[in-house]
């Protein structure tokens, strides 16, 4: 099932498919909690070195799933970035805001939502 999410030639495929897998394993309560916190549909347009583009939709509004392809009907925010940037984001090497400011990340739509992407991608976050 998670193989469906992979695009060959993209480093972030692993990441996204892992995310998708995690989502399916979430309990309902956990999903609800994530959805409540995020409440949005993200569309990720990732481009790699070969100038190919992969599109994933992360639905954290209704269903709590990760899918290939564009959002239907429409994503709340579309995030355009490179393969490397996405990998860095997930690893915590760069945070969403920094990526945006340096132009590594572009958004269309509700950009506030894009800031939540960090939280979604990151594994576990320590508590203050």
């Amino acid at each position: 099932m998670s193989d469906d999410l992979k695009y060959p030639g993209f480093k972030s495929s692993e990441l996204i498919s892992g995310l998708g897998a995690a989502f399916t394993k979430y309990s309902d309560a956990e999903k609800q909690s994530q959805i409540k916190k995020t409440n949005g549909v993200f569309e990720l347009q990732v481009s790699n070195d070969k100038k190919e583009t992969a599109t994933w939709t992360v639905d954290l509004k209704k269903a709590g799933t990760v899918q290939k392809g564009s959002a239907k009907p429409k994503a709340d925010v579309t995030i355009i970035l490179s393969d490397d940037t996405l990998v860095d984001l997930a690893n915590g090497k760069i945070n969403g805001q920094k990526a945006f400011m340096t132009g590594k990340l572009k958004t269309k739509g509700n950009m506030m939502l894009a800031t939540k992407l960090d939280a979604v991608l990151k594994g576990a976050k320590a508590k203050l």
């Binding site: 995690a22 915590g92 945070n95 950009m111 939502l113 320590a126």
Partner: protein
């Protein structure tokens, strides 16, 4: 990306120039030009091209300048990332909300292009030169140009195509209102090219100079040969320069007419702008974080008040609380609880005592003390939701009785943990005002708390705290709480290194404050330094071995290192601590345990690790997890 051009190299100067020119003229309407700052993708080349073509840009029609534009201009003049960022975001939000307006303008021009024919343009231009009667046409020209001028920046920044295509339609619009004679195709082509370069500069030209432009365009047309389409710019440059230097005031009545039409047009646009922005910001905030039916906060979508503070339900007390039994203890539950905490006793138990105390009416100092202590205890015990509710209650109570400031830092931290950034900022601001009433908070900042985005409020509040910290430093003092506040601000914004520095300073003054050690640890952990984080957490646990949250954090750090088994073991030990007293266990712990188990590829155990399942922890022990 347009923003990139602002921050890198020589292009820095380019945008600044035209804008600073604009600043010199104080009566230009810039409500539309605010839309300049769209951080869209394809914008950069178009923008720079435009800038290059428009060496000096004169302001628009006589309208008051929105203050924001001045700031944008200033900001763009100094490539100061953060502030510019803030402005861009605000404007981007505005622009985002204005996309509807954009669409309608674009649509309008779309319609026009279908109807109009460029070939009749030169005619109208010519005729404009010739007769006064043609001035009837001008206001229309002007208003379309005005609108076009407005849509221009957006055209530049969002959609390259509409700009080019808008060019045609722009003149098409004029034509529509004018006469419709036809012309030779060649002339039309040349004119179109010239017009293309012209409109790119029209962004902010004075209406007064429109007539000149038109005149000059026609002159240029007449003088330019049809066979040199490759250099429209040079001719144009001449025209443009001539334009800048010429200073013919147009006829009075026309100015008035144009201004009236234009201001009316701009007025309506502006109102829409303001209303939409305010309400859409509010909406974005409220819908941005969970206006979604959820079961967690009581079957109601999560609402926020004006300051971004979530409106939570009432605190839910534990059902089976042994301390509620009137015969169980004779002394003060509150002091018992405090004693227990002093002795590093079980956090869950202390919380139960406190709950009982509250329910029995023993609220402690000012009626808030027990609440705040309960909140803090709950948070330490990794039960954020309960902790937040208790703290909210306590903080409000404290404000009521005049002891504002108590518990606010803890509450702000709670908000940060749950990603309620704006709430965190608001709370920190309130704390600052309560604790340092003499510190001046600008009116603007106070207003901004309710309207602006969290990125903006973050900057403002951080500046306030920084100012305070620096003042203290200058006096040779250091208030750990101010450092904590600052640290929380940086942490909320993802600036973990700076946050770490703040907490380290605070620790200098309070080396045995386990909360601070935990916080330092989290800064390191989220800042991708899990090993160092573990050191800090260990210190925290040395000081308070029952600090559930710290144990949780250790587990998280292990997860991030990839030590899944150890992580699971830590979570289980934390759960064990909680279970050993009658209290309920923390969901957060269960969730993260599941993650660890999944990473260990023990899906079977993961399925067992659900709070509802109430699986005995021994099950896990039998599986070889040692805790």
């Amino acid at each position: 990306m347009s923003f990139q051009s602002l921050i890198s190299g020589s292009e820095c100067a380019a945008p600044a120039n035209p804008l600073s020119q604009v600043l010199k003229h104080t009566n230009g309407d810039r409500s539309l030009q605010q839309l300049h700052a769209l951080p869209a993708s394809s914008a950069a080349p178009a923008r720079e091209h435009d800038i290059a073509l428009a060496p000096t840009v004169s302001p628009g029609i006589g309208m008051p300048i929105p203050a924001e534009f001045l700031r944008i201009a200033e900001v763009n003049g100094r490539p100061e990332l953060n502030e510019a960022w803030v402005m861009e975001q605000q404007n981007a939000m505005r622009a985002f909300e204005e996309s509807k307006a954009q669409a309608s303008w674009a649509a309008e021009f779309g319609n026009n292009s279908d109807i109009a024919r460029i070939n009749s343009l030169p005619t109208t231009m010519q005729q404009n030169v010739s007769g006064r009667g043609e001035f009837q046409q001008r206001p229309n020209y002007v208003s379309s140009m005005g609108m076009y001028g407005g849509s221009m920046p957006m055209g530049m920044y969002g959609m390259n195509n509409p700009m080019q295509y808008g060019t045609g339609t722009h003149f098409g619009a004029v034509d529509q209102k004018g006469k419709g004679k036809s012309r030779e195709a060649d002339f039309e082509a040349a004119f179109a090219q010239v017009a293309a370069s012209l409109t790119q500069r029209e962004t902010t030209s004075r209406i007064e100079e429109v007539k000149d432009v038109v005149d000059d365009v026609t002159e240029a047309l007449k003088s330019s040969t049809l066979d040199e389409p490759e250099n429209p710019e040079t001719d144009f440059a001449k025209v443009w320069v001539h334009l800048q230097q010429s200073d013919n005031p147009p006829r009075q009545e026309d100015i008035a007419k144009w201004e009236a039409e234009f201001s009316q047009l701009m007025g309506t646009q502006r109102e829409e702008l303001d209303n939409e922005y305010g309400s859409s910001m509010q909406q974005a905030w409220e819908s941005g974080v969970g206006d979604f039916s959820d079961k967690i906060f009581g079957d109601k979508p999560l609402q926020f008040d004006a300051d971004g503070i979530p409106i939570l339900g009432d605190y839910v007390f534990e059902k089976n609380n042994q301390y509620l039994d009137p015969s169980s203890s004779s002394g003060s539950l509150l002091s018992d609880a405090k004693a227990l905490l002093e002795q590093n006793g079980s956090l869950t138990e202390a919380a139960l005592m406190l709950e009982a105390a509250i329910q029995k009416g023993e609220l402690g100092k000012g009626g808030y003390e027990a609440w705040i202590l309960l909140g803090e205890t709950r948070n330490m015990d990794e039960r954020e939701e309960a902790g937040m509710k208790a703290l909210l209650h306590g903080v409000r109570k404290a404000e009521e009785v005049g002891d504002a400031g108590e518990g606010m830092l803890s509450l702000a931290i709670s908000f940060t943990n749950e990603s309620y950034d704006r709430a965190s900022h608001s709370m920190l601001l309130r704390w600052l005002q309560a604790r340092f009433p003499s510190q001046h908070v600008p009116e603007e900042t106070l207003k901004a708390m309710t309207t602006n985005s969290s990125w903006d409020t973050h900057t403002r509040i951080t500046d306030l705290f920084l100012g305070l910290a620096r003042a203290q430093f200058a006096q040779g003092t250091m208030d750990p709480d101010v450092q904590i506040g600052l640290g929380v601000l940086f942490y909320t914004n993802g600036e973990y290194d700076r946050a770490k520095d703040c907490f380290e300073s605070a620790l200098g003054a309070r080396p045995t404050d386990y909360l601070l050690w935990n916080r330092l640890g989290s800064c390191l952990s989220n800042g991708s330094k899990p090993e160092e984080a573990l050191v800090a957490y260990t210190e925290a646990l040395k000081l308070r071995p029952t600090y559930t949250r710290a144990i949780y954090n250790v587990g998280v750090a292990c997860l991030n290192i990839g030590a899944y088994k150890e992580a699971a073991e830590h979570f289980l030990s934390a759960l064990g601590l909680q279970e050993s007293t009658s209290g309920d266990t923390s969901e957060q712990l269960w969730f993260t345990l599941r993650r660890a188990l999944l990473s260990m590829e023990r899906g079977d155990l993961a399925d067992l690790a659900k709070p509802e399942a109430k699986t005995s922890l021994d099950v896990f022990r039998r599986e070889g997890l040692d805790f």
